[in-house]
């Protein structure tokens, strides 16, 4: 019998703790598939964030470090500088990367640190139970913006790709949506491109993925995907924000 679907080598054979309809599980799989395809599992070190993906070190079948909240890019910098011939990636949520860890991500990008960042934007603090994130949309209701995010009080969402695209350090910056097959495939192609940048020594690469959190959005999985498609993409337009010029 021909095998048409199997677990990527770079993922461990274990159950995940992610909620049904959560984007994290799919994104883990995409990263693992890319690691397999590029044949880098054995020389890759991943950095897990603080957030719902904190247990990523139980899922990826590669060496992993668990970092303090927001500090994954600094931890990855330490690993990469110590072992420049290895592949190093961070996996971070929006609270981790765009609130408490803003300094670390901006400076890793500005240095052109030769690492790859998988940035999971679900417009909320998932792990702590649905508080407002730096990426929460204007008007979006969360535990800590119960009347909807009011710009007068809580300001506006941060567009990470656009912000980092002003820097000279990054080689590849792209945003994708985890909504349908076409876009999931596109997400994967961006992730692959990002790792390829690192492998060819081009410097900092980041893929932002708009990802559903049905649990803390209070939606059914299908509605959550629709919300990404209909609402999130309006504020966070998918696309490539930076890539090396050809030739």
């Amino acid at each position: 019998m021909k095998v048409v679907f199997e677990r990527p080598k770079s993922l461990q054979a274990t159950k995940t703790h992610y909620c049904p309809g959560c984007g994290h599980g799919v994104i883990h799989r995409l990263v693992a598939e890319v690691m397999d395809e590029l044949g880098i599992q054995d020389k890759t070190i991943g950095v897990a964030p603080v957030g719902c993906a904190v247990l990523a070190y139980n899922y990826f079948d590669c060496d992993m470090q668990q970092a303090a909240h927001g500090r994954a890019p600094a931890v990855a910098t330490g690993i990469k500088r110590a072992l420049p011939d290895r592949v190093v990636f961070t996996y971070q949520g929006d609270g981790d990367l765009a609130a408490i860890g803003t300094a670390e991500i901006v400076h890793a990008a500005a240095r052109g640190e030769n690492i790859t960042v998988i940035f999971v934007n679900n417009a909320i603090y998932g792990m702590t139970g649905g508080q407002m994130a730096p990426t929460t949309l204007v008007g979006q209701k969360t535990e800590t913006s119960p009347y909807g995010r009011d710009p007068q009080i809580a300001g506006y969402p941060i567009r990470v790709c656009e912000m980092l695209a002003t820097l000279d350090g990054p080689s590849f910056l792209a945003r994708a949506e985890l909504t349908d097959v076409k876009n999931i495939n596109k997400t994967k192609s961006y992730i692959k491109k990002a790792f390829e940048m690192q492998l060819s020594g081009k410097g900092f690469s980041l893929v932002e993925i708009l990802s559903p959190c049905p649990t803390n959005w209070g939606m059914k999985p299908k509605d959550a995907v629709d919300w990404v498609k209909n609402e999130m993409v309006k504020v966070f337009p998918p696309g490539v924000f930076k890539e090396p010029k050809e030739g």
Partner: protein
């Protein structure tokens, strides 16, 4: 062996390179600036990494990454910057990562000043960050000892998989003294088979982590750490006793303060006062043994610090009420003279 005249901060940097430090991450702050400047110049020439981080928070987390990758790594700062590193130090202890952290202390609280102080003693010896943990704390009192303790710091860190703090002060960092970089035989150290280097053919992935969601597991982990701390306490406490043989009174001081206190002890000796000096070299583990040694004959103790009284708590814990413990300290970057301490020694004798 060749003697060279060097500033404390530069000598520390040179010793770190010679001890095999491969990576340095730091953020500028006075009065330790000569140290990163030296490494910025030397590391690239000698196969190492120097990187100026965007903050002390980033620097200590870069240390975490590099330590987890299995290389010898160091960061340095001064008091306010060390405060910022505390979360990282807690993580380093939880994940059992070896590294060396230098604190060239200055006056506080807050922005304080840039003059020498010893007011980070509590922070250094009581953990400083959150959680049940300890860091080894070394307190050199001369540039030569600073150099020697840097080698020890890296070895102790690797031996126990634990951060080691070197606690200096503005005077020690800035002071020029002759030093010898002694060749040292390589210590037998455990292999870093836990490091995240990429699996590189290994069956199971290595994971650097301090998260144990199950309290049963976390208690187990903390008890394992505690056992390690007990072993360190049993084996690694260090001190020096000067003019101790016939002494009835003892001054206790560490770091640069011990140098001044020693001058005061000599002055007192000239006046026939039988006083000695206990100089802790490790602040954690605290050298309680020094007190056991002298307690049978000691009439009183005088702790002298560049603070309003921090180490004095450890002195009291060591003396356990068996003799009076007095305190004299200056704060905010003020440094006592030998004469001032001499007066305190006379007072101690008068009171006891």
């Amino acid at each position: 062996m060749e003697k060279v005249l060097m500033k404390g901060n530069e000598a520390l940097a040179e010793a770190a390179i010679r001890a095999g430090c491969k990576c340095f991450f730091g953020y500028p702050i006075t009065p330790q600036s000569e140290l990163p400047a030296y490494l910025a110049r030397e590391m690239p020439k000698r196969g190492g990494v120097f990187l100026q981080a965007e903050s002390e928070v980033a620097a200590i987390n870069m240390v975490y990454g590099a330590a987890g990758a299995g290389v010898r790594v160091m960061t340095s700062s001064s008091s306010p910057g060390i405060s910022l590193k505390q979360e990282g130090i807690s993580y380093l202890c939880g994940a059992e990562l070896p590294c060396v952290i230098v604190n060239i202390m200055r006056g506080g609280p807050g922005l304080g000043d840039i003059q020498p102080a010893q007011s980070d003693y509590f922070q250094a010896t009581r953990g400083g960050g959150h959680g049940d943990y300890r860091t080894i704390v070394l307190a050199p009192s001369s540039v030569q000892e600073l150099v020697d303790l840097v080698y020890d710091a890296f070895d102790l860190a690797d031996m126990y998989r634990n951060p080691v703090l070197i606690l200096g002060d503005g005077i020690l960092g800035q002071m020029m003294e002759p030093v010898v970089f002694k060749e040292r035989p390589a210590r037998q150290l455990p292999p870093k088979d836990w490091a995240t280097t990429g699996k590189m053919g290994r069956q199971k992935p290595n994971v650097i982590n301090s998260l144990y969601l199950d309290p049963v597991k976390l208690e187990e982990h903390n008890l394992k750490l505690f056992k390690k701390y007990q072993e360190i306490e049993a084996k690694e406490a260090r001190y020096e006793i000067l003019n101790g043989d016939d002494a009835e009174y003892f001054v206790i001081a560490y770091g640069i303060c011990a140098r001044i206190a020693h001058a005061a002890v000599e002055m007192a000796r000239e006046e026939g006062i039988k006083v000695g000096l206990i100089r802790p070299i490790t602040l954690w583990p605290y050298p309680k043994k020094a007190f056991e040694e002298v307690l049978p004959k000691a009439k009183a103790f005088l702790t002298v610090e560049l603070s309003l009284g921090q180490m004095v708590e450890d002195v009291k814990l060591s003396v356990e009420g068996r003799a009076p413990v007095y305190f004299y300290g200056r704060t905010g970057g003020m440094v006592p003279t030998a004469e001032e301490i001499f007066e305190e020694i006379k007072k101690m004798r008068g009171l006891s």
